[in-house]
């Protein structure tokens, strides 16, 4: 297999002589990475096109059979609750467009890396990412027909305030050089954080009756095993090629760990608050998928090269018991301007939160919900009418607290060319100050609203520009989804069921 693969794939390369090699590969010099021998790149998969198409076609055949069966049998009615779909709305709006971005930029690597081995691995990943984009759309398309929040996900990814968090993350990676992209996405995203990001969504799906999402997710994860391998090979290859690469790679790990970790804040609140039937707490997921697997496994292996765990990792560990609560509390109050709904965690949910967060929930967050319970009794569900200030780097509202004090908001300020910029954490400030010319370019949704670039000055103007319709956001209870869900279930003995929308 190895010889066959070598002959079929790697030996296709030749040294150009009619044009300069540096003109053929113009992007692999400027980042300072030194590569002496591209043939040292190991690709343990040794996949050839015939084997690839055979197994991928088989996987898709199985997946689409599940999607068709689920759609034909009105499978959406067997979910635990319509509110479960908020997790999937967030996924389609926030994650699916990233798969597409990955597709485009792995095509860039498949052109611009000098070695044929990594180019072929990148090309496989590029079309895998197209697969993920499309299987996600096709899976969630069926829910879009019946439920709010899905219908305008593409435009919203480009425009809506909370979606600029994942969008700016990936834009950051696409605008970096090929080696930084490899570390940012191939390694940090696809290896370091992939289980933490994806497995909770897929497990959430399986716990809440969402067979199609579970099927596409697990089917995609089998591709991920190749992608994780590419990411790991990439980092080892860079580290082994030249000692001078080590500090460059370390700085990228430091940057991209924190950048990616901030995006997973959306996963944290999803796990702890959005799933009607809980899978595991964020804290538990973080401990298993990050602390145990990555810090306990991966970084032990990378220590050989002089690589240390990411800078600011301690800040992430320190906030594992407060992160989801802070993020959901913010989303709860701003969901009137979002394409998902939120609701008050009921008594069972609060019991679960207290059990899973014995050190923080009752002390710090239950009082907030108790106050909100009184608001609700008085008919005054709380929404914040103003606009939040956003972090210049991760673009999450400035809702995080000081690492050692969960009651004091963390706010960092940097000055660049005489102008002040706010960041949410030590990690984001460090990232900003490393590349201020990059981050001052950020398209910050709230700034853009104030500058009049988002449909108009009022909240309804902006929501219209977001393409948000009645029922997409706000409170779940009494929403269009909630009402339809109940009527569809109550009308089981009618021969024909209409919808309310």
């Amino acid at each position: 297999m190895k010889q066959r693969y070598e002959a079929l794939t790697r030996d296709l390369d030749w040294e150009p002589s009619y044009v300069a090699k540096s003109d053929v590969f113009p992007h692999t010099e400027f980042e300072g990475i030194k590569i002496h021998d591209w043939s040292k790149w190991e690709d343990p998969f040794r996949l050839t096109v015939d084997a690839y198409t055979k197994y991928q076609a088989e996987k898709d055949k199985r997946l689409y059979a599940v999607l068709d069966g689920f759609a034909q049998s009105q499978g959406h009615l067997t979910l635990t609750e319509a509110s479960y779909l908020n997790a999937m709305k967030l996924f389609l709006q926030g994650v699916t467009p990233l798969e597409y971005q990955a597709h485009r930029n792995f095509a860039y690597l498949a052109r611009h890396l000098n070695g044929p081995g990594p180019r072929f691995a990148a090309l496989c990943q590029s079309i895998d990412e197209m697969r993920h984009t499309q299987t996600e759309i096709h899976t969630l398309s069926n829910y879009n027909k019946y439920y709010g929040g899905f219908h305008n996900y593409l435009e919203q990814h480009d425009r809506v305030w909370y979606l600029s968090v994942p969008k700016s993350f990936f834009d950051d990676a696409l605008t970096a050089g090929p080696f930084e992209f490899l570390i940012a996405i191939g390694f940090s995203f696809e290896y370091l954080l992939t289980n933490l990001l994806f497995v909770p969504f897929m497990s959430g799906a399986s716990f809440n009756g969402d067979l199609p999402t579970m099927t596409f997710g697990f089917s995609a994860q089998s591709d991920e095993s190749r992608h994780m391998t590419l990411g790991l090979e990439a980092i080892k290859f860079l580290l082994e090629q030249d000692e001078a690469n080590v500090p460059i790679v370390q700085a990228w790990i430091d940057k991209w760990f924190w950048r990616g970790y901030r995006v997973t804040a959306l996963v944290a609140q999803m796990l702890d608050y959005m799933l009607p039937r809980k899978v595991m707490s964020w804290k538990e997921a973080f401990e298993l998928y990050f602390e145990e697997q990555m810090l306990g496994g991966l970084f032990q292996d990378l220590a050989f090269y002089g690589i240390t765990p990411p800078k600011h990792v301690d800040d992430a560990i320190a906030e594992k018991e407060i992160l989801s609560h802070q993020v959901y509390w913010t989303l709860y109050q701003f969901s009137h301007a979002a394409a998902f709904t939120t609701t008050f965690p009921d008594a069972d949910a609060q019991t679960w939160l207290a059990e899973n967060y014995p050190g923080t929930f009752d002390k710090l967050y239950k009082p907030l919900w108790d106050k909100e319970a009184r608001n609700l009794e008085n008919g005054g569900r709380h929404f914040v009418r103003g606009l939040p200030q956003l972090c210049q780097v991760c673009q999450i509202p400035m809702l995080f607290t000081e690492p050692d004090d969960p009651t004091t908001l963390c706010q960092r300020e940097s000055v660049h060319n005489g102008e002040k910029f706010q960041t949410c954490s030590n990690g984001c400030q460090w990232i900003f100050e490393r590349e201020p010319e990059k981050y001052v370019q950020a398209w910050l949704p709230v700034h853009q609203i104030y500058q009049g670039n988002c449909g108009g000055p009022t909240v309804p103007d902006v929501l219209a520009w977001y393409g948000i319709q009645e029922g997409d956001g706000g409170e779940y209870k009494g929403s269009v989804d909630d009402t339809n869900w109940k009527s569809w279930h109550n009308a089981a003995d009618h021969s024909h069921i209409g919808s309310e929308a």
Binding site: P44, L47, K54, Y55, M202, T229, Q293, Q300, F304
Partner: protein, 54 residues
Amino acid sequence: MRITAPGRLVITRESVEERLGREWETHEFQLAIVSYFGHIKEWDDDEIVIAWDH
């Protein structure tokens, strides 16, 4: 089902074929795996080796 092994995990074609009672290509593993952690060191016709280098 979750499988863990300290340091090194080897899946051989022979042992899978024995259990399944039919021919099995190592690439078929892709149809079964749903998530993974570790380092895929070797993946050839006869075996899949998941192990750390250092």
